[in-house]
Protein backbone atom coordinates (compact mmCIF):
# COMPACT_ATOMS: atom_id res chain seq x y z
CA UNK A 1 0.00 0.00 0.00
CA UNK A 2 2.67 2.46 1.06
CA UNK A 3 5.10 1.36 -1.66
CA UNK A 4 2.47 2.11 -4.23
CA UNK A 5 1.56 5.50 -2.87
CA UNK A 6 5.15 6.80 -2.67
CA UNK A 7 5.77 7.34 -6.42
CA UNK A 8 2.45 9.04 -6.86
CA UNK A 9 3.15 11.27 -3.87
CA UNK A 10 6.48 12.19 -5.41
CA UNK A 11 4.90 13.05 -8.70
CA UNK A 12 2.34 15.17 -6.94
CA UNK A 13 5.14 17.00 -5.18
CA UNK A 14 6.93 17.65 -8.43
CA UNK A 15 3.77 19.12 -9.84
CA UNK A 16 3.25 21.17 -6.69
CA UNK A 17 6.77 22.49 -6.92
CA UNK A 18 6.11 24.75 -9.85
CA UNK A 19 3.19 26.39 -8.12
CA UNK A 20 4.79 26.30 -4.69
CA UNK A 21 7.83 28.49 -5.41
CA UNK A 22 5.92 31.70 -6.24
CA UNK A 23 3.59 30.97 -3.34
CA UNK A 24 6.48 30.75 -0.86
CA UNK A 25 8.83 33.39 -2.17
CA UNK A 26 6.30 35.66 -3.87
CA UNK A 27 5.15 37.58 -0.78
CA UNK A 28 8.73 38.39 0.25
CA UNK A 29 9.69 39.48 -3.25
CA UNK A 30 6.57 41.63 -3.49
CA UNK A 31 7.13 43.34 -0.13
CA UNK A 32 10.82 44.02 -0.79
CA UNK A 33 10.15 45.23 -4.34
CA UNK A 34 7.37 47.54 -3.19
CA UNK A 35 8.84 49.04 -0.02
CA UNK A 36 12.61 48.72 -0.43
CA UNK A 37 13.54 48.71 -4.11
CA UNK A 38 10.75 50.86 -5.59
CA UNK A 39 11.46 53.85 -3.28
CA UNK A 40 15.13 53.76 -4.30
CA UNK A 41 14.21 53.78 -7.98
CA UNK A 42 11.46 56.36 -7.43
CA UNK A 43 13.85 58.78 -5.71
CA UNK A 44 16.13 58.54 -8.76
CA UNK A 45 13.17 59.74 -10.84
CA UNK A 46 12.03 62.37 -8.33
CA UNK A 47 15.48 63.93 -8.40
CA UNK A 48 14.82 65.03 -11.98
CA UNK A 49 11.50 66.72 -11.14
CA UNK A 50 10.40 69.79 -9.23
CA UNK A 51 7.92 67.78 -7.12
CA UNK A 52 6.59 69.66 -4.10
CA UNK A 53 4.49 68.52 -1.17
CA UNK A 54 2.33 71.64 -1.24
CA UNK A 55 1.72 74.61 -3.50
CA UNK A 56 1.41 74.97 -7.25
CA UNK A 57 4.02 72.42 -8.29
CA UNK A 58 2.45 69.79 -6.03
CA UNK A 59 -0.44 69.39 -8.46
CA UNK A 60 1.66 69.37 -11.57
CA UNK A 61 5.26 68.22 -11.05
CA UNK A 62 7.50 68.86 -14.06
CA UNK A 63 10.59 67.18 -15.39
CA UNK A 64 13.43 69.65 -14.85
CA UNK A 65 16.42 67.64 -16.06
CA UNK A 66 19.55 68.12 -14.00
CA UNK A 67 18.45 71.47 -12.53
CA UNK A 68 18.30 70.05 -9.00
CA UNK A 69 21.82 68.70 -9.32
CA UNK A 70 23.32 71.90 -10.68
CA UNK A 71 21.58 73.80 -7.89
CA UNK A 72 22.82 71.41 -5.18
CA UNK A 73 26.41 71.27 -6.38
CA UNK A 74 26.64 75.06 -6.40
CA UNK A 75 24.77 75.52 -3.11
CA UNK A 76 27.07 76.27 -0.15
CA UNK A 77 24.29 74.99 2.09
CA UNK A 78 24.33 71.51 0.58
CA UNK A 79 28.09 71.31 0.07
CA UNK A 80 28.46 72.37 3.69
CA UNK A 81 26.21 69.52 4.85
CA UNK A 82 28.15 67.10 2.66
CA UNK A 83 31.37 68.27 4.29
CA UNK A 84 29.88 67.92 7.78
CA UNK A 85 28.78 64.37 6.98
CA UNK A 86 32.36 63.68 5.87
CA UNK A 87 33.79 65.07 9.10
CA UNK A 88 31.17 63.19 11.13
CA UNK A 89 32.01 59.87 9.45
CA UNK A 90 35.77 60.42 9.63
CA UNK A 91 36.01 61.35 13.29
CA UNK A 92 33.15 59.35 14.82
CA UNK A 93 33.22 56.14 12.79
CA UNK A 94 36.59 55.76 11.13
CA UNK A 95 38.68 57.13 13.99
CA UNK A 96 36.67 57.13 17.24
CA UNK A 97 34.69 53.91 17.05
CA UNK A 98 37.52 52.00 15.40
CA UNK A 99 40.17 52.99 17.94
CA UNK A 100 38.00 52.56 21.04
CA UNK A 101 36.37 49.41 19.66
CA UNK A 102 39.79 47.89 18.97
CA UNK A 103 40.93 48.92 22.44
CA UNK A 104 37.90 47.26 24.03
CA UNK A 105 38.35 44.12 21.92
CA UNK A 106 42.05 43.85 22.79
CA UNK A 107 41.52 44.48 26.51
CA UNK A 108 38.67 41.99 26.70
CA UNK A 109 40.78 39.36 24.95
CA UNK A 110 43.26 39.34 27.86
CA UNK A 111 43.11 35.96 29.54
CA UNK A 112 43.96 37.34 32.97
CA UNK A 113 41.25 39.96 32.98
CA UNK A 114 38.40 39.55 35.45
CA UNK A 115 34.88 40.91 35.05
CA UNK A 116 34.90 40.62 31.26
CA UNK A 117 31.18 39.92 31.18
CA UNK A 118 30.46 43.09 33.13
CA UNK A 119 32.77 45.31 31.07
CA UNK A 120 31.43 43.78 27.86
CA UNK A 121 27.84 44.46 28.92
CA UNK A 122 28.69 48.07 29.79
CA UNK A 123 30.15 48.63 26.32
CA UNK A 124 27.17 46.88 24.68
CA UNK A 125 24.50 48.92 26.46
CA UNK A 126 24.81 52.08 24.30
CA UNK A 127 24.26 49.99 21.18
CA UNK A 128 21.31 48.01 22.53
CA UNK A 129 19.13 50.96 23.60
CA UNK A 130 16.96 52.78 21.01
CA UNK A 131 18.54 55.90 19.49
CA UNK A 132 15.95 58.19 21.07
CA UNK A 133 16.95 56.95 24.54
CA UNK A 134 20.61 57.44 23.66
CA UNK A 135 19.95 61.04 22.63
CA UNK A 136 17.86 61.73 25.71
CA UNK A 137 20.60 60.36 27.95
CA UNK A 138 23.15 62.63 26.30
CA UNK A 139 20.87 65.64 26.50
CA UNK A 140 21.31 65.48 30.29
CA UNK A 141 25.08 65.01 29.99
CA UNK A 142 25.48 67.99 27.64
CA UNK A 143 22.96 70.19 29.44
CA UNK A 144 24.05 73.86 29.50
CA UNK A 145 23.05 74.16 33.15
CA UNK A 146 25.75 74.21 35.78
CA UNK A 147 24.45 70.90 37.17
CA UNK A 148 24.57 69.09 33.81
CA UNK A 149 26.61 65.89 34.10
CA UNK A 150 29.53 67.06 31.98
CA UNK A 151 29.58 70.52 33.57
CA UNK A 152 29.73 68.89 37.00
CA UNK A 153 32.65 66.75 35.86
CA UNK A 154 34.63 69.72 34.54
CA UNK A 155 33.71 71.63 37.70
CA UNK A 156 35.80 69.07 39.57
CA UNK A 157 38.72 70.29 37.45
CA UNK A 158 37.82 73.90 38.28
CA UNK A 159 36.39 74.87 34.88
CA UNK A 160 33.35 77.06 34.24
CA UNK A 161 30.11 75.52 32.93
CA UNK A 162 29.80 75.40 29.14
CA UNK A 163 26.71 75.24 26.89
CA UNK A 164 28.16 72.27 25.03
CA UNK A 165 25.61 71.96 22.24
CA UNK A 166 26.08 75.67 21.43
CA UNK A 167 29.84 75.91 21.94
CA UNK A 168 30.97 72.73 20.18
CA UNK A 169 27.97 71.09 18.49
CA UNK A 170 29.93 68.98 15.99
CA UNK A 171 32.25 67.65 18.68
CA UNK A 172 29.20 66.74 20.78
CA UNK A 173 27.44 64.72 18.08
CA UNK A 174 30.72 63.03 17.13
CA UNK A 175 31.32 61.95 20.74
CA UNK A 176 27.73 60.72 21.06
CA UNK A 177 28.07 58.66 17.89
CA UNK A 178 31.42 57.23 18.99
CA UNK A 179 29.80 56.23 22.29
CA UNK A 180 26.98 54.45 20.47
CA UNK A 181 29.24 52.62 18.02
CA UNK A 182 32.07 51.24 20.18
CA UNK A 183 30.16 48.01 20.77
CA UNK A 184 29.71 47.19 17.09
CA UNK A 185 33.41 47.77 16.42
CA UNK A 186 34.30 45.69 19.45
CA UNK A 187 32.15 42.75 18.33
CA UNK A 188 33.59 42.84 14.80
CA UNK A 189 37.18 43.03 16.02
CA UNK A 190 36.74 40.36 18.70
CA UNK A 191 35.57 37.96 16.02
CA UNK A 192 38.56 38.90 13.84
CA UNK A 193 41.09 38.63 16.68
CA UNK A 194 39.82 35.17 17.49
CA UNK A 195 41.03 33.97 14.09
CA UNK A 196 44.59 35.16 14.69
CA UNK A 197 46.65 32.06 15.60
CA UNK A 198 48.03 32.37 19.11
CA UNK A 199 51.29 30.58 18.22
CA UNK A 200 52.11 33.37 15.78
CA UNK A 201 51.87 36.00 18.50
CA UNK A 202 53.82 33.91 21.00
CA UNK A 203 56.52 33.24 18.42
CA UNK A 204 57.02 36.93 17.70
CA UNK A 205 57.06 37.72 21.41
CA UNK A 206 59.82 35.12 21.86
CA UNK A 207 61.70 36.73 18.97
CA UNK A 208 61.74 39.90 21.05
CA UNK A 209 58.93 41.99 19.55
CA UNK A 210 57.20 44.46 21.89
CA UNK A 211 53.44 44.35 22.39
CA UNK A 212 53.02 47.30 20.03
CA UNK A 213 55.23 45.70 17.37
CA UNK A 214 53.26 42.49 17.59
CA UNK A 215 50.03 44.44 17.10
CA UNK A 216 51.16 46.53 14.11
CA UNK A 217 53.27 43.89 12.36
CA UNK A 218 51.49 40.64 13.12
CA UNK A 219 47.93 41.15 14.34
CA UNK A 220 46.85 44.11 12.24
CA UNK A 221 47.93 42.71 8.84
CA UNK A 222 46.14 39.45 9.68
CA UNK A 223 42.83 41.16 10.46
CA UNK A 224 43.04 43.59 7.55
CA UNK A 225 40.05 42.08 5.73
CA UNK A 226 37.62 42.24 8.68
CA UNK A 227 38.83 45.75 9.57
CA UNK A 228 38.02 47.06 6.10
CA UNK A 229 34.70 45.23 6.13
CA UNK A 230 33.97 46.95 9.42
CA UNK A 231 34.99 50.34 8.01
CA UNK A 232 32.65 49.79 5.06
CA UNK A 233 29.72 48.83 7.32
CA UNK A 234 30.26 51.63 9.81
CA UNK A 235 30.59 54.23 7.04
CA UNK A 236 27.29 53.09 5.58
CA UNK A 237 25.49 53.22 8.93
CA UNK A 238 27.08 56.51 9.99
CA UNK A 239 26.07 58.26 6.76
CA UNK A 240 22.51 57.14 7.57
CA UNK A 241 22.53 58.48 11.14
CA UNK A 242 19.54 60.78 11.57
CA UNK A 243 17.59 60.44 14.82
CA UNK A 244 20.58 60.60 17.15
CA UNK A 245 21.58 64.03 15.83
CA UNK A 246 18.13 65.38 14.97
CA UNK A 247 16.89 64.69 18.50
CA UNK A 248 19.78 66.59 20.10
CA UNK A 249 20.29 69.56 17.76
CA UNK A 250 17.75 69.41 14.88
CA UNK A 251 20.68 70.41 12.69
CA UNK A 252 21.42 73.55 14.69
CA UNK A 253 22.53 75.88 16.05
CA UNK A 254 22.22 77.57 12.65
CA UNK A 255 23.17 74.75 10.34
CA UNK A 256 26.30 73.72 12.24
CA UNK A 257 25.20 70.08 12.69
CA UNK A 258 23.15 69.80 9.52
CA UNK A 259 24.31 66.49 8.10
CA UNK A 260 23.11 65.43 4.65
CA UNK A 261 20.49 63.17 6.24
CA UNK A 262 19.07 66.20 8.07
CA UNK A 263 19.38 68.36 4.94
CA UNK A 264 17.26 65.84 3.03
CA UNK A 265 14.67 65.64 5.79
CA UNK A 266 14.37 69.40 6.19
CA UNK A 267 14.17 70.20 2.51
CA UNK A 268 11.71 67.45 1.70
CA UNK A 269 9.39 67.71 4.68
CA UNK A 270 9.82 71.20 6.10
CA UNK A 271 10.34 73.19 2.89
CA UNK A 272 8.37 70.55 0.93
CA UNK A 273 10.97 70.44 -1.86
CA UNK A 274 10.64 66.73 -2.60
CA UNK A 275 12.54 66.90 -5.88
CA UNK A 276 15.50 68.66 -4.34
CA UNK A 277 15.56 66.31 -1.34
CA UNK A 278 15.56 63.31 -3.67
CA UNK A 279 18.41 64.72 -5.74
CA UNK A 280 20.38 65.23 -2.52
CA UNK A 281 19.72 61.57 -1.67
CA UNK A 282 21.15 60.51 -5.02
CA UNK A 283 24.29 62.62 -4.50
CA UNK A 284 24.69 60.99 -1.08
CA UNK A 285 24.37 57.54 -2.64
CA UNK A 286 27.01 58.33 -5.25
CA UNK A 287 29.42 59.51 -2.55
CA UNK A 288 28.72 56.35 -0.56
CA UNK A 289 29.33 54.21 -3.64
CA UNK A 290 32.71 55.88 -4.29
CA UNK A 291 33.70 55.39 -0.64
CA UNK A 292 32.62 51.75 -0.74
CA UNK A 293 34.64 51.03 -3.87
CA UNK A 294 37.67 52.72 -2.30
CA UNK A 295 37.48 50.46 0.75
CA UNK A 296 37.10 47.38 -1.39
CA UNK A 297 40.14 48.44 -3.42
CA UNK A 298 42.18 49.18 -0.30
CA UNK A 299 41.25 45.90 1.35
CA UNK A 300 42.04 44.02 -1.88
CA UNK A 301 38.94 41.98 -1.19
CA UNK A 302 37.64 39.91 -4.06
CA UNK A 303 33.99 40.79 -4.58
Amino acid sequence: MTTLSVPSARKRRRLQRRGLLPLLLGPSVLLIALFVIAPAVYSLYLGFTNTQLTGFAARDPKFVGIDNYTYLLSSPDFLGSLGRTGVFVLFSAIIGQTVLGMLAALLLSRKWMRGKGLFGAAVLLPMVVPEVVASLAWASVLSPRADGTLNRLIDLLGAQPVAWLQAAPMVCIIVVNVWRGIAFAMIMFQAALEDVPEELIEASRIDGASARQVFTNVTLPLIRGPVFLYLLLTTITTVGVFGLVYFLTQGGPGSSTQLVSIYIFEHAFEYSQIGLGSAASVVLLVVLLVLGLTYVRLAKVEV
Binding site: Q16, I32, P39, A40, E131, V133, A137, F247, A268
Partner: protein
Protein backbone atom coordinates in the same frame (compact mmCIF):
# COMPACT_ATOMS: atom_id res chain seq x y z
CA UNK B 1 25.19 38.09 12.97
CA UNK B 2 27.95 35.53 12.91
CA UNK B 3 30.19 38.10 14.56
CA UNK B 4 27.95 38.43 17.59
CA UNK B 5 27.92 34.73 17.85
CA UNK B 6 31.67 34.39 17.71
CA UNK B 7 31.89 37.00 20.44
CA UNK B 8 29.54 35.07 22.68
CA UNK B 9 31.28 31.74 22.27
CA UNK B 10 34.66 33.32 22.89
CA UNK B 11 33.43 34.70 26.17
CA UNK B 12 32.24 31.27 27.20
CA UNK B 13 35.51 29.52 26.55
CA UNK B 14 37.51 32.15 28.32
CA UNK B 15 35.33 32.15 31.36
CA UNK B 16 36.02 28.47 31.84
CA UNK B 17 39.73 28.96 31.28
CA UNK B 18 39.82 31.91 33.63
CA UNK B 19 38.41 29.93 36.52
CA UNK B 20 41.29 27.47 36.28
CA UNK B 21 44.13 29.96 36.01
CA UNK B 22 45.53 31.52 39.19
CA UNK B 23 44.66 35.03 40.38
CA UNK B 24 45.84 37.99 38.36
CA UNK B 25 48.55 39.43 40.60
CA UNK B 26 49.97 36.37 42.31
CA UNK B 27 53.68 35.89 41.69
CA UNK B 28 53.96 38.29 38.77
CA UNK B 29 56.83 40.59 37.95
CA UNK B 30 56.24 44.20 39.10
CA UNK B 31 56.37 45.36 35.48
CA UNK B 32 53.53 43.03 34.55
CA UNK B 33 51.50 44.17 37.57
CA UNK B 34 51.83 47.83 36.51
CA UNK B 35 50.91 46.95 32.93
CA UNK B 36 47.86 45.01 34.00
CA UNK B 37 46.74 47.73 36.38
CA UNK B 38 46.96 50.27 33.56
CA UNK B 39 44.89 48.03 31.33
CA UNK B 40 42.30 47.63 34.09
CA UNK B 41 42.16 51.42 34.43
CA UNK B 42 41.61 51.76 30.69
CA UNK B 43 38.73 49.28 30.55
CA UNK B 44 37.13 50.82 33.66
CA UNK B 45 37.32 54.29 32.05
CA UNK B 46 35.81 52.92 28.86
CA UNK B 47 32.99 51.27 30.81
CA UNK B 48 32.35 54.49 32.74
CA UNK B 49 32.20 56.46 29.47
CA UNK B 50 29.59 54.00 28.25
CA UNK B 51 27.54 54.00 31.47
CA UNK B 52 27.62 57.58 32.80
CA UNK B 53 25.13 58.99 30.26
CA UNK B 54 22.53 56.57 31.65
CA UNK B 55 22.86 58.04 35.14
CA UNK B 56 20.24 60.75 34.56
CA UNK B 57 17.72 58.30 33.05
CA UNK B 58 17.95 55.83 35.91
CA UNK B 59 18.05 58.41 38.72
CA UNK B 60 15.30 60.66 37.33
CA UNK B 61 12.96 57.77 36.60
CA UNK B 62 12.72 57.04 40.35
CA UNK B 63 12.80 60.70 41.42
CA UNK B 64 9.53 62.38 42.35
CA UNK B 65 11.08 65.83 41.73
CA UNK B 66 13.18 65.05 38.66
CA UNK B 67 14.73 67.86 36.64
CA UNK B 68 16.68 67.90 33.37
CA UNK B 69 19.96 67.09 35.14
CA UNK B 70 21.40 64.52 37.53
CA UNK B 71 20.43 64.93 41.18
CA UNK B 72 19.98 62.72 44.20
CA UNK B 73 16.55 61.12 43.75
CA UNK B 74 13.81 61.18 46.36
CA UNK B 75 13.04 57.53 45.75
CA UNK B 76 9.54 56.83 44.47
CA UNK B 77 7.86 54.89 41.70
CA UNK B 78 5.47 57.76 41.16
CA UNK B 79 6.77 58.44 37.64
CA UNK B 80 5.98 54.92 36.50
CA UNK B 81 2.54 55.09 38.10
CA UNK B 82 1.91 58.34 36.28
CA UNK B 83 3.18 56.86 33.01
CA UNK B 84 0.66 54.03 33.18
CA UNK B 85 -2.27 56.06 34.53
CA UNK B 86 -1.92 59.16 32.35
CA UNK B 87 -4.36 59.71 29.50
CA UNK B 88 -1.92 59.45 26.60
CA UNK B 89 1.37 57.82 27.63
CA UNK B 90 0.12 54.19 27.83
CA UNK B 91 -1.12 54.68 24.29
CA UNK B 92 2.50 55.21 23.14
CA UNK B 93 3.55 51.89 24.63
CA UNK B 94 0.58 50.10 23.08
CA UNK B 95 1.34 51.65 19.68
CA UNK B 96 4.99 50.64 19.90
CA UNK B 97 3.93 47.08 20.73
CA UNK B 98 1.35 46.92 17.93
CA UNK B 99 3.82 48.17 15.34
CA UNK B 100 6.82 46.11 16.50
CA UNK B 101 4.96 42.85 17.14
CA UNK B 102 2.95 43.24 13.94
CA UNK B 103 6.01 43.95 11.80
CA UNK B 104 8.06 41.17 13.44
CA UNK B 105 5.28 38.61 12.98
CA UNK B 106 4.77 39.53 9.33
CA UNK B 107 8.52 39.60 8.75
CA UNK B 108 9.03 36.14 10.29
CA UNK B 109 6.02 34.59 8.56
CA UNK B 110 7.18 35.74 5.13
CA UNK B 111 10.83 35.12 5.98
CA UNK B 112 10.23 31.50 7.02
CA UNK B 113 8.49 30.43 3.84
CA UNK B 114 10.71 32.62 1.65
CA UNK B 115 13.89 31.25 3.22
CA UNK B 116 12.60 27.70 2.73
CA UNK B 117 12.13 28.42 -0.97
CA UNK B 118 15.58 30.01 -1.25
CA UNK B 119 17.19 27.06 0.50
CA UNK B 120 15.40 24.10 -1.08
CA UNK B 121 14.55 25.22 -4.61
CA UNK B 122 17.06 25.80 -7.37
CA UNK B 123 15.82 28.41 -9.80
CA UNK B 124 17.26 31.02 -12.11
CA UNK B 125 18.11 34.34 -10.45
CA UNK B 126 18.27 32.88 -6.94
CA UNK B 127 21.81 34.06 -6.16
CA UNK B 128 21.21 37.37 -7.92
CA UNK B 129 18.15 37.92 -5.76
CA UNK B 130 20.02 37.06 -2.56
CA UNK B 131 22.80 39.54 -3.31
CA UNK B 132 20.47 42.21 -4.66
CA UNK B 133 18.46 42.37 -1.43
CA UNK B 134 21.69 42.57 0.55
CA UNK B 135 23.04 45.38 -1.62
CA UNK B 136 19.86 47.43 -1.34
CA UNK B 137 20.46 47.64 2.40
CA UNK B 138 23.54 49.73 1.70
CA UNK B 139 21.23 52.67 0.91
CA UNK B 140 20.87 54.80 4.05
CA UNK B 141 17.24 55.11 5.22
CA UNK B 142 17.17 58.95 4.99
CA UNK B 143 17.95 58.65 1.27
CA UNK B 144 14.78 56.74 0.39
CA UNK B 145 12.39 58.07 3.03
CA UNK B 146 11.15 60.89 0.78
CA UNK B 147 10.15 58.60 -2.08
CA UNK B 148 8.74 56.08 0.37
CA UNK B 149 6.53 58.73 1.92
CA UNK B 150 5.14 59.84 -1.45
CA UNK B 151 4.45 56.23 -2.45
CA UNK B 152 2.58 55.55 0.77
CA UNK B 153 0.52 58.70 0.34
CA UNK B 154 -0.45 57.53 -3.15
CA UNK B 155 -1.36 54.08 -1.78
CA UNK B 156 -3.34 55.73 1.06
CA UNK B 157 -1.18 53.84 3.54
CA UNK B 158 0.43 56.84 5.20
CA UNK B 159 -0.56 57.68 8.76
CA UNK B 160 -1.71 54.12 9.50
CA UNK B 161 -0.48 51.09 11.44
CA UNK B 162 -0.73 48.95 8.32
CA UNK B 163 1.53 51.15 6.19
CA UNK B 164 4.20 51.41 8.87
CA UNK B 165 4.06 47.67 9.64
CA UNK B 166 4.46 46.79 5.95
CA UNK B 167 7.40 49.18 5.55
CA UNK B 168 9.15 47.98 8.69
CA UNK B 169 8.59 44.29 7.89
CA UNK B 170 10.00 44.84 4.40
CA UNK B 171 13.03 46.78 5.67
CA UNK B 172 14.18 43.86 7.85
CA UNK B 173 13.20 41.13 5.40
CA UNK B 174 16.58 40.88 3.59
CA UNK B 175 18.40 40.12 6.84
CA UNK B 176 15.69 37.68 7.95
CA UNK B 177 15.81 35.85 4.61
CA UNK B 178 19.60 35.52 4.76
CA UNK B 179 19.59 34.36 8.35
CA UNK B 180 16.75 31.87 7.98
CA UNK B 181 18.08 30.50 4.68
CA UNK B 182 21.19 29.51 6.61
CA UNK B 183 19.02 27.89 9.25
CA UNK B 184 17.03 25.86 6.71
CA UNK B 185 20.28 24.88 4.95
CA UNK B 186 21.44 23.34 8.22
CA UNK B 187 18.46 20.95 8.36
CA UNK B 188 19.52 17.83 6.43
CA UNK B 189 17.47 17.02 3.35
CA UNK B 190 17.15 13.40 4.62
CA UNK B 191 15.05 14.41 7.58
CA UNK B 192 12.60 16.18 5.34
CA UNK B 193 12.55 13.32 2.82
CA UNK B 194 11.81 10.91 5.66
CA UNK B 195 8.77 13.00 6.48
CA UNK B 196 7.66 12.87 2.84
CA UNK B 197 8.04 9.07 2.91
CA UNK B 198 5.79 9.01 5.92
CA UNK B 199 3.15 10.76 3.86
CA UNK B 200 3.77 14.41 4.56
CA UNK B 201 3.18 16.85 1.74
CA UNK B 202 5.83 19.45 1.06
CA UNK B 203 3.93 22.03 3.08
CA UNK B 204 3.25 19.48 5.82
CA UNK B 205 6.95 18.60 5.94
CA UNK B 206 7.81 22.26 6.26
CA UNK B 207 5.39 22.76 9.08
CA UNK B 208 6.20 19.56 11.01
CA UNK B 209 9.92 19.11 10.35
CA UNK B 210 11.60 22.28 9.14
CA UNK B 211 9.90 24.97 11.22
CA UNK B 212 10.33 23.22 14.59
CA UNK B 213 14.05 22.87 13.85
CA UNK B 214 14.47 26.58 13.05
CA UNK B 215 14.23 27.73 16.69
CA UNK B 216 17.61 29.45 17.22
CA UNK B 217 17.61 31.08 13.79
CA UNK B 218 14.07 32.30 14.30
CA UNK B 219 15.03 33.70 17.70
CA UNK B 220 17.89 35.64 16.17
CA UNK B 221 15.77 36.94 13.29
CA UNK B 222 12.95 37.88 15.66
CA UNK B 223 15.31 39.76 17.94
CA UNK B 224 16.98 41.69 15.13
CA UNK B 225 13.68 42.64 13.51
CA UNK B 226 11.96 43.56 16.76
CA UNK B 227 14.88 45.68 17.91
CA UNK B 228 15.17 47.58 14.66
CA UNK B 229 11.42 48.29 14.47
CA UNK B 230 11.14 49.13 18.18
CA UNK B 231 14.02 51.59 17.98
CA UNK B 232 13.19 53.16 14.65
CA UNK B 233 12.67 56.91 14.77
CA UNK B 234 12.84 58.25 11.20
CA UNK B 235 10.17 56.07 9.57
CA UNK B 236 7.37 56.70 12.11
CA UNK B 237 8.39 60.38 12.27
CA UNK B 238 7.76 60.74 8.55
CA UNK B 239 4.88 58.32 8.02
CA UNK B 240 2.68 59.06 11.04
CA UNK B 241 0.88 62.34 11.60
CA UNK B 242 -1.83 61.44 14.13
CA UNK B 243 -0.65 61.59 17.76
CA UNK B 244 -2.98 58.63 18.37
CA UNK B 245 -0.63 56.42 16.37
CA UNK B 246 2.70 57.64 17.76
CA UNK B 247 5.03 54.97 19.10
CA UNK B 248 7.28 55.65 22.10
CA UNK B 249 10.16 56.95 19.97
CA UNK B 250 8.07 59.81 18.56
CA UNK B 251 6.22 60.39 21.83
CA UNK B 252 9.52 60.83 23.67
CA UNK B 253 10.82 63.19 21.01
CA UNK B 254 7.67 65.33 21.10
CA UNK B 255 7.65 65.40 24.90
CA UNK B 256 11.32 66.38 24.99
CA UNK B 257 10.89 69.10 22.36
CA UNK B 258 8.02 70.75 24.26
CA UNK B 259 10.61 72.75 26.15
CA UNK B 260 8.33 74.68 28.48
CA UNK B 261 6.24 71.91 29.95
CA UNK B 262 8.55 68.89 30.06
CA UNK B 263 7.67 66.47 32.84
CA UNK B 264 11.22 65.19 33.33
CA UNK B 265 10.28 62.40 35.71
CA UNK B 266 7.71 60.86 33.38
CA UNK B 267 10.04 61.41 30.42
CA UNK B 268 12.82 59.46 32.15
CA UNK B 269 10.40 56.76 33.24
CA UNK B 270 9.09 56.38 29.68
CA UNK B 271 12.65 56.17 28.38
CA UNK B 272 13.41 53.41 30.88
CA UNK B 273 10.23 51.55 29.91
CA UNK B 274 11.20 52.06 26.27
CA UNK B 275 14.72 50.67 26.66
CA UNK B 276 13.83 47.62 28.74
CA UNK B 277 12.32 45.35 26.02
CA UNK B 278 15.30 45.44 23.63
CA UNK B 279 17.78 45.11 26.50
CA UNK B 280 15.95 42.13 28.06
CA UNK B 281 15.39 40.53 24.67
CA UNK B 282 19.09 40.80 23.92
CA UNK B 283 20.08 39.16 27.19
CA UNK B 284 17.51 36.37 26.87
CA UNK B 285 18.24 35.56 23.24
CA UNK B 286 22.02 35.55 23.63
CA UNK B 287 21.72 31.83 24.34
CA UNK B 288 19.81 31.22 21.12
CA UNK B 289 22.35 33.21 19.16
CA UNK B 290 25.05 30.96 20.54
CA UNK B 291 23.13 27.87 19.50
CA UNK B 292 22.51 29.11 15.97
CA UNK B 293 26.27 29.43 15.55
CA UNK B 294 26.58 25.71 16.05
CA UNK B 295 24.75 25.28 12.77
CA UNK B 296 21.59 23.66 14.07
CA UNK B 297 21.25 20.99 16.72
CA UNK B 298 21.29 18.16 14.21
CA UNK B 299 24.92 18.25 13.17
CA UNK B 300 26.28 16.98 16.49
Amino acid sequence: MSTTIAFESREETERTQGSRSPGPHRGLAPFVVVQRTLQYILIVLLALFCLIPFAWLVLSAVDAHAGPTVQMPTLSLDNFVRFFTSADTPRLLVNSLIISVGATALNLALGMIGAYALSRFRFRGRTTFMFAILLVRVIPPPATIVALYLMLVQMHLDDSYLGLILVEAAASLPVTLWLLKGTVDAVPQDVEEAAWMDGCSRLGGMRRVIFPLMGPGLGAAAMLTFMSVWGDFLTPLVLLQSPDLYPLSIGLFRAFSAFNQVDWGVLAASAVIYMVPPAVLYMVLRKYLLKSSLGGALKG
